[in-house]
Symmetry: D3
Subunit: 195 residues, 6 copies
């Protein structure tokens, strides 16, 4: 293993701390969270979801989830943005989806190359990207749920103009029933605060 | 003319004030300028270049430049970023150039639609994008020169880690001899400050 | 032409990117726009106004406007603030208007001196300052309209305490009927959002 | 499981995105990272360390590490700061260590209570806090190594006055030889940049 | 007197300008005031309170207050936070009060040591901390009143989620009747703005 | 006394927390201190100077200083900026000094009017402004010394481009020998750090 290349990866990954989540800033949110902050939040939400599912055995998706995989996916799910940046919905509409996917995959493969486990980690990222494993689908839910937790935090602090986010998620298909139930509770909290 | 659609355009364009110039932030610059600030600076640099060229008649490119066109191009040259955001070099490397160009053109056409002169303005943007008129080429030079003026300002304030910008521009082909001379002077100022 | 003096002007003008529009900050707005951002916005509003007027020939003020002049005025209208800073209403009340005008004119003349067209540009700034040409009056309208576009953006994002701005503009005399109509629509958008 | 209490935990944990890492700010660093950003970075460093160790079997500490445990510890290691805030060295010197430990343990137990796996997660946090398992010791190393990666990033961007951080870590006893070697390389990168 | 040690104190005290008032940030307030700003405000509120009391002789607490002492206490009341940082309520609940008091006293004694009047100043701080003199009690009132003045400012600017602050202060026992009356008026201003 | 007018004063004075010290920002300093922060620092420096002078009796200016007056002056010395804003040197050069003085005096008189002691406080401000009492002269020294303490802090954190500040102060005439000696030590600290 090449120590310098591994440090280069860690130094470059720290750029995610300076990479704003673009959608918030475009709507005038003053303290825009970084991609690193969102990734941390997603890992925490995914941990909570996985633990809650494990405590209700048999309820969903058959067997138990592999928590190690879940956490790796949550940490790495936006790593490509260190090079691509966080593209907002308005940009995603203008770029063909397969172009974006290929760009992300190329970035992920190149970024992870210095790690001995590069192949395994890239495969996990692919499972998240494609939603092709229960663990990947759980992290996809966590990614959205975390965004709405943050959205409610912004609104509780006085931010306005974020209705689009709730409307977009209302049309989202949750992979796990637990995620859907938590989102409904989050929306209820929002409504209670406004009445 | 539809007043509300025109106001929608002006309200959306104000988003450029909250759109950071990504490259600076990725290298740790603390007060990242916005795309709106860079566009203002580019218009000013373009104005200065055009006036200087006009005062040295016959020296370059034949006839006089159309200053109205120059200023419109400078103001609009990054307008598409209101939807696409400011893609850094690391992102541009991952997206095919024709995909980016088409996305920008689609954004420009849609954004300018509420204006009566939409067709004329979009054609000017194309002339900038393709460098297909002397005015477009001048604004291409102004775009780069403004970036380096800002880069020197950051360095004068203590920012480090921006050598890449100078190296990239060293390989740039200036369209006007005046731009090249001004860049050399700017580099000389940088060197004098460091010795 | 002295290249170094021209670069000094461009480097100093970049200070407008760090010059906050004071009025917002005094009322607690968190992300205060810079004078450079406001100048960019004013140029865009002026461009839209001029194009709209050109499309309705004969409707206002006799002949067509000189768009080149409009754009130069919009870009330069607050350039003196690079030295004077953006004085809020509370400061303007304490300083005799002729003192402020003379200070601005002195700053403009000194700043523009390195440009070959200094005299022509300073005369355009005077026409804006005094509202002594149709182009100058249009940019005066654009200056105010842009402020209110930004004000609505702040309010849409949750900012409060900005009623004074609307009240002050309600008493403003618009030079062009088109400006007045656009402002009324902007106010209507504000009211719709609050009901 | 109580969904509302689980959401309360996730909403409160999002406060870590607004909790600055105090030491940087006290020394004048302009863009202070948040505890959430540091936690994300620590998890990434821990993942890299664990993968590198797994690829060199037999080299250190006997058996293989449990990566799931490593990632949970890294995510949760500073969770108590959501209530206690990030106490800098100057504060830690003034508060008896056992008082700080008890306060953190009380916060962790109370925060995690809404999760079904609260007991297991709290025990993992204890193993990190006490360095009482190989996984806990690895995350202790990752915590320090991540701090120095960020420190180098700040210095590369022009920040000064951070020598104390390097001096403090020079006296640190690394638990894994790999961590010590990576730190030495990081220091070498720093030296190369300054000469 | 040792000039260098005195300068070291002044340089260290400037750190209070970078020390955020933690409670606001945890609730999402975007522009968090610093401890230095709060200390300035507290001194101003204390000055106003003392002048108002002096103008109503005989009304409260017997004799006249020593304004010099009041101002010194207001300036120094949070000086220990330069080392301890601003601990929010959630942290104070987890740390025994006597531990916090001892830590603050130790910090104050060490910080003030370079001044010839160290003993007198530290005694004044103790009188504030313990509320053991009329001057100390006045500054305790000023500390709370200033917090609520700032809270109203944040709310006037659109911040939400600060109800806890008003609820906590509602249960506060004011030392001076004047403070209580001013707080009631402040609350009335808040209510008027919301109806 | 009118409680509401007194609260209006305190609410307006809190605006100084959002009023940037303009000179730093114009030179690219990222975290610009507020006028409130500078006023706090000035009061602290003035306190230290006064205590040090009191400990060396007979050494300067005859009799002992009135510390109450010193602290009031330090707190109020920039209060007029709540309406006038902090005018940088480049603005001061463009406005006749008597215009500025009259504007400040008018602002001070109007601001302090709600306080019973308005006349006495305004007279103290005049003594500071004119340097017409030993206390006023001490605060004038403290004002400058505090600026240079902050300047050194910025430079220690990596800021550059602040040489002008040191050059301007080198030509300053200190009213107290103690201030001059402390400034020389501060400069020595700066030199030691750079070699």
């Amino acid at each position: 293993m090449d120590h310098d290349r591994m440090l280069d990866l860690l130094l470059e990954a720290a750029t995610l701390k300076r990479m704003p989540r673009t959608g918030w800033g475009m709507r005038g949110v003053p303290n825009v969270e970084s991609v690193a902050e969102h990734s941390f939040g997603t890992a925490l939400v995914a941990l909570a979801l996985a633990e809650a599912l494990a405590a209700e055995p048999g309820s969903e998706q058959g067997g138990p989830l592999d928590l190690e995989q879940v956490l790796i996916m949550a940490l790495l799910h936006d790593l490509a943005e260190v090079r691509l940046t966080d593209l907002p919905v308005s940009a995603v509409r203008l770029i063909p989806p397969e172009v974006k996917s290929q760009a992300e995959a190329a970035a992920i493969n190149d970024l992870l190359a210095p790690l001995p486990a590069a192949g395994r980690l890239a495969a996990l990222w692919q499972a998240f990207e494609g939603g092709s494993s229960p663990e990947g689908r759980l992290v996809r839910d966590a990614d959205k749920l975390e965004m709405m937790v943050q959205c409610l935090r912004y609104e509780q602090a006085g931010c306005r103009g974020l209705d689009e986010f709730w409307q977009a998620i209302d049309g989202h298909r949750w992979h796990f029933d637990l995620s859907a139930r938590l989102y409904l509770r989050l929306k209820a909290m929002r409504t209670e605060a406004n009445t």
